[in-house]
């Protein structure tokens, strides 16, 4: 297997377009022989990252860019992984100010939402969020 394989996808901000991205996850995950449950976890994380961009970015171009990469650590000698970047050109946010949700608090609150980042970080092996005034890039990695 070559050490790197990449796919780029642009999706419009529209209902259920996040499902389109999950098809790429499935295809690449199967190609690299990632287990079914791990593929499903990446799909769920990608859905959450897309929804985060759809709901909160207010990106003027009304689209989200997604990069999918298969790679191998340590110059091809280490663990293989599937990495997905979900990118918007919106207003950005400060990840350090995102409140960690808890169900006891949510049950009493009017707003039940706000779980996306917690779910992404829990399902993926490594997550980085780069965000500023020109947009947000959520970089998510899952090892095979």
């Amino acid at each position: 297997m070559s050490s790197r394989r990449e796919v780029h996808l642009t999706i419009p901000i529209a209902p259920e377009m996040e499902i389109t991205a999950t098809a790429q996850v499935a295809a690449l995950g199967e190609w690299m022989e990632m287990g079914r449950d791990k593929i499903d976890e990446v799909k769920m994380a990608v859905v959450e990252a897309c929804i985060n961009a759809f709901e909160h970015s207010y990106t003027p171009d009304r689209k989200v860019e997604i990069d999918f990469r298969i790679g191998v650590e340590d110059a091809g000698q280490g663990r293989s992984y599937l990495e997905v970047d979900v990118v918007d050109a919106g207003k950005g946010f400060d990840p350090s100010r995102v409140e960690t949700p808890s169900l006891p608090a949510k049950l009493k609150a009017d707003r039940k939402r706000g779980w996306g980042i917690k779910i992404i970080e829990s399902l993926m092996d490594d997550v980085r969020i780069e965000s500023g005034e020109h947009g947000t890039r959520i970089i998510m990695r899952k090892y095979r």
Binding site: P15, I19, D40, I51, L103, L107, K112, I119, S122
Partner: protein, 120 residues
């Protein structure tokens, strides 16, 4: 492309109902489940089983609507159970802490027994 959720309802007795979902539980899907659940609760149902055998993907907006249903059931002294979740959906529910307030089962029968108070 359409992932529109279908919900079918079975009411095995006066206070228990089963909602079987087929498709993506997103905002629209969650709202459809809530519509059916609140109609049942208005008709005397206080114990709900959500059978997700045919749901392979959910998102956090859909789950947030399920939390609203859970809140209303708990306020009425009711119970909520889920069964036949994919491993990833079950893991997500655990991450969110749903299993502290609702019970997750592998199959419908033990879920119904718990809802009826026949098992712990």
């Amino acid at each position: 492309m359409s992932e529109t959720l279908k919900v079918t309802v079975e009411r095995p007795d006066a206070t228990v109902a089963i909602l079987r979902t087929d498709g993506y539980i997103n905002n629209a899907g969650g709202e459809e489940i809530a519509r059916q659940a609140y109609a049942l609760m208005g008709g005397g149902v206080s114990r709900l089983l959500l059978d997700l055998e045919k749901t392979k993907i959910v998102n956090s907006i859909g789950i947030s609507i399920l939390i609203e249903i859970l809140e209303k059931l708990l306020d009425q002294g009711g119970r909520l159970a889920f069964c036949r979740l994919t491993p990833t959906i079950e893991k997500t529910f655990q991450i969110m802490g749903l299993a502290q307030y609702a019970r997750l089962f592998a199959a419908p029968e033990p879920a119904l027994a718990w809802l009826r108070g026949e098992s712990e």
